[in-house]
């Protein structure tokens, strides 16, 4: 049983990567293109603001992780972004110690999933894997 499960691990890792990438990408799209609905905090978004930079990281990083290109590097930046979002931008600890109380659960989970992707890489269904096969 365990051996069977283990055999599919690289593919499932890719599925996790694609889902996390898409979720992350959608928050970047929402910030910059107000799609599917505008985000109140990003109403007057400019490139050189905290939310502008966050939106860029989410757009570029989210797209890269979704297709699985340079996953480790993108995931490293995104993990850092989520840490900054939790500690500084949203200042979650000021609103309560536990993430469920201060509303930062998603940020923590994103942060650690991306941290894991830095180590685990893209899995088998990815551009990284395609490129590796060619060289």
């Amino acid at each position: 049983m365990e051996a069977t499960l283990d055999k599919f691990r690289p593919q499932i890792l890719s599925i996790l990567r694609i889902m996390v990438g898409l979720l992350f990408l959608s928050s970047g799209i929402q910030k910059w293109f107000a799609y599917p609905v505008a985000m109140p905090a990003a109403a007057n978004i400019t490139l050189f603001s905290m939310i502008g930079v966050a939106g860029c990281i989410e757009l570029v990083g989210g797209a890269l992780v979704t297709v699985g290109l340079f996953t480790r590097y993108a995931a490293f930046i995104m993990s850092g972004e989520m840490a900054v979002a939790y500690w500084f931008y949203a200042n979650r600890p000021a609103r309560g110690f536990m993430p469920i109380q201060n509303g930062g659960t998603v940020e923590v989970l994103f942060c650690f999933v991306f941290l894991y992707l830095v180590f685990a890489g893209s899995g088998s269904w990815s551009l990284d894997a395609l490129l590796r096969k060619k060289t």
């Binding site: 609905v37 999933v113 894991y116």
Partner: protein, 133 residues
């Protein structure tokens, strides 16, 4: 050099992800049953309701995942619960997770735990301790 370090630490990274996601999940259970922390949303919780059942799954699987005991089974249950949560609670409001804060969390939990079914607990876990014995 970087590749070697990475390869050596990937299993520990997996354990870290499992511990953090387990703790976060456990919190949903403790908030429902122990009022730790107290959330007004759960004040009117009735026994043997859908949310009550969810709390039991969150409490038990959250604790199991945190310590890394029977991880594949616990992750299977937790992942399934989050799939049900998404389709019964969030999807009727909007299919796009970004439009339902809370919906994106359910999707994220669902896929992280789904991965843990296949990946297992990693070295920092009771599963690994038991296997060594």
């Amino acid at each position: 050099m970087f590749d070697q370090v990475r390869a050596a630490w990937t299993p520990h990274g997996l354990s870290l992800l499992r511990i953090i996601s387990g703790l976060l999940f456990l919190e949903h259970g403790t908030a429902k049953y122990l009022q730790l922390p107290h959330l007004a949303a759960f004040d009117s919780m009735t026994w043997s309701s859908m949310i009550d059942l969810a709390g039991i799954v969150e409490f038990t699987t959250g604790a199991l995942l945190t310590v890394g005991l029977f991880t594949p089974i616990a992750a299977f249950l937790a992942s399934g619960e989050m799939a049900v949560a998404y389709f019964t609670t969030w999807a009727p409001r909007s299919l796009l997770p970004i439009l339902t804060p809370g919906g994106d969390l359910a999707v994220l939990y669902c896929f992280v735990f789904f991965y843990l079914i296949f990946a297992g607990s990693g070295p920092w876990s009771l599963d690994a301790l038991l296997k060594r014995k």
